[in-house]
């Protein structure tokens, strides 16, 4: 496979820019980490550069497969929506794999993909309880931030329950879970989605920069 000559000068530039990009994003995220999430040990999981690189690699592989399968076997003109949906599903799958099976939503995404109906009910319970205990022990540090939640009185509990149910429908696999499980899963899901957005955005920048033929825009 002969590479075009115009690529000869850009590979090192791209490498340098990508490394600088990931370094600056990790520096920014570590600053954010120190400032805001002093206690969220799980949050660092989705914000580390290593995790982002891991996910980006999986994403690339998944997208390659999407491209190959769509060019080989698809209808002559697959709609943009269908292609976009295939990309979304591949990205979600890569995200779910990066979660290493520790969360409900990731297992639900993978189970839906394979279309098998076995639900691993035994594992979520012991996984949820230690997570809840760690949040309990670190609540002492949270009080320093001087933000407290208004006490749930008898009137607000049904409202809160209703909203938690709505939240449970948004997070994959949590439609029928209990309230603390839904809240825990939502926390992890949001951080994972944020990482997914960051990774896909930088990938799109990279691709659109190389497509135009000129060097990618400086960061």
């Amino acid at each position: 496979m002969a590479s075009p000559t115009y690529l000869n000068s850009t590979p090192t530039d791209l490498v340098r820019r990508k490394k600088r990009q990931s370094a600056s994003s990790s520096a920014a995220s570590s600053r954010r980490n120190n400032a805001a999430s002093a206690t969220a040990g799980d949050g660092d999981r989705w914000r580390s550069e290593k995790q982002q690189r891991n996910y980006s690699a999986k994403l690339i592989q998944a997208l390659q497969q999407v491209r190959l399968s769509s060019s080989a076997a698809e209808t002559p003109s697959p709609t943009a929506k269908k292609r976009g949906k295939a990309v979304r599903e591949a990205a979600d799958r890569a995200l779910a794999v990066s979660a290493r099976g520790r969360t409900l939503w990731s297992r639900a995404i993978l189970a839906n993909r394979i279309k098998l109906k076995f639900r691993k009910q035994k594992r979520p319970r012991p996984a949820a309880i230690p997570a809840v205990i760690t949040t309990g022990s670190s609540s002492r540090r949270w009080k320093k931030q001087r933000v407290t939640v208004v006490k749930l009185n008898k009137k607000s509990i049904p409202t809160v329950n209703r909203k938690v149910r709505v939240l449970g429908r948004l997070v994959p696999g949590c439609k029928k879970e209990s309230v603390p499980v839904i809240l825990e899963e939502a926390t992890d899901y949001i951080q994972a989605l944020e990482m997914q957005v960051r990774a896909m955005k930088s990938l799109a920048e990279l691709l659109s920069g190389s497509n135009s033929g000129s060097a990618p825009p400086p960061i």
Partner: protein
């Protein structure tokens, strides 16, 4: 303290969960949310239902963003040739 929480978390029925537990989780969620309107109201109290509302909105926004990015990526992948794609893959490994 932790034993009390572990005991209460094992009784996973909807009404058996301690409020402290729920408050902690809601707080955790609140810290993740983008602080758009919260700068004005740093009174130190957040209402649980408001946090949940904003969480739902935020998740929906994130999902929409991922969908838009997916579409954009699918269009970009169509126009990228295989040599460039292999190059990018090698960059990220």
């Amino acid at each position: 303290m932790s034993s009390r929480r572990s005991r209460s978390s094992r009784q996973t029925g909807a009404s058996m969960i301690s409020e402290d537990q729920i408050n902690d989780l809601v707080l955790q969620l609140h810290r993740l949310l983008p602080e758009l309107g919260n700068n004005h109201r740093r009174s130190g109290k957040v209402s649980a239902s408001k946090v949940l509302q904003e969480t739902c909105t935020y998740i929906r926004n994130l999902n929409k963003e991922v969908d838009d990015l997916s579409e954009r990526l699918s269009q970009l992948l169509e126009s990228t040739d295989s040599a460039q794609a292999a190059l990018i893959r090698s960059l990220l490994m």
